[in-house]
């Protein structure tokens, strides 16, 4: 068992460094959880990464997994809250400044400028995902079918995603 305070402190610290985001997190978590704290073995760590990828939440759901290993369900809760707390607090702060600063003309110009760049980044995310997960004709057929359903029908996207997951399960995609 791992002390709850220790658990909270370690994940708070990770949450602060986490601002960098995304895949910076894997080597960082590995160093802290496996090498320094030895809360997880290497195999558990890798399985935990795979497991947290199964959920819609961010990669940092690995905190839930490590917390569970260290101190059960309560540990999972403490670790999860702590890893997301710093970033969420900062995001709340930015959101609270947002409306105020928007009244400044220069800020508005700046914000207008980033809009098309956001469009580019959205497509970049799709491209990067596609580069790793579109490998066969089957994938492209699903992509096309999904696109048609989402673009031209009113079917809820959640239904389309879950439907595709069921197709994968039933046909034993591997």
């Amino acid at each position: 068992m791992v002390g709850m305070l220790k658990l909270a402190w370690v994940f708070l610290k990770i949450g602060v460094i986490f601002f960098g985001g995304g895949y910076v997190l894997i080597p960082l978590l590995h160093r802290i959880l496996v090498d320094q704290m030895q809360w997880l073995t290497l195999k558990e760590f890798l399985d935990g990464v795979a497991l947290s990828q199964l959920t819609p939440g961010p990669l940092a759901m690995l905190a839930t997994f490590a917390g569970y290993k260290g101190a059960g369900l309560l540990g999972a809760l403490v670790a999860t809250v702590c890893i997301f707390l710093p970033g969420t607090a900062l995001m709340l702060f930015i959101s609270s400044r947002y409306e105020r600063f928007r009244r400044i003309e220069a800020v508005n110009h700046f914000l207008d400028g980033i809009l098309p760049a956001v469009v580019g980044l959205v497509f970049a995310a799709a491209f990067n995902l596609g580069r790793t997960s579109l490998t066969s004709a089957r994938d492209f057929i699903l992509l096309g079918a999904g696109f048609a359903l989402l673009q031209f029908t009113a079917i809820a996207p959640m239904a389309v995603i879950l439907g595709a997951a069921v197709v994968g399960l039933l046909l034993h995609f591997s």
Binding site: L51, L54, T55, Y98, L121, G168, L169
Partner: protein, 185 residues
Amino acid sequence: MEKEIKTVRLREIAATFFMIGATGFGGGMAIVALIERRCVHDKGWLGQNEFMHGLAFGQILGPFSLNTSTFVGYYLRGTPGGLVAAASFIAPSFLMVSALSLLYFRFHELPELKSALLGSNPVVIALIVVAGIGMARRKAARLEAATVAVIAFAASTLFGTSALTVLVIAGCWGLWKGWRTGRLG
């Protein structure tokens, strides 16, 4: 900057983000696409511009699916709204990981869910592309803006430029554009 917000109830924020958090397999940008669909188009809670600003801030700070949820929640109902949206979004994943962890540490095996993800992954990409097309139509239709979008795309995919760098440079372009039109007008 008049925004007409009918007060959205916290319960509705919670229900919406819980649903998104429970079904948005694919994570990251897929979640963002779902939030855009539900909150901007279906419910009209906030405008496209505000939403994309929130997404931009979220990208700078790490887990942007969570950050975008926080931003929308805050926009609607201040700090309680932001916290409710964030917690509701994370809750389903938390429950899933907890349940899977229990199985894992008891049986030392991962459940066979890989084939489900292999099925949903291409559709998730389609979802992101559809969201991207919608945003592009409204925000990158003119030549100059479209060029910025293409450059941002290329910088991110070809050169691995960080989102922060891309957004700051684009922001400076916006400043310059504003200054130029201000001078001409």
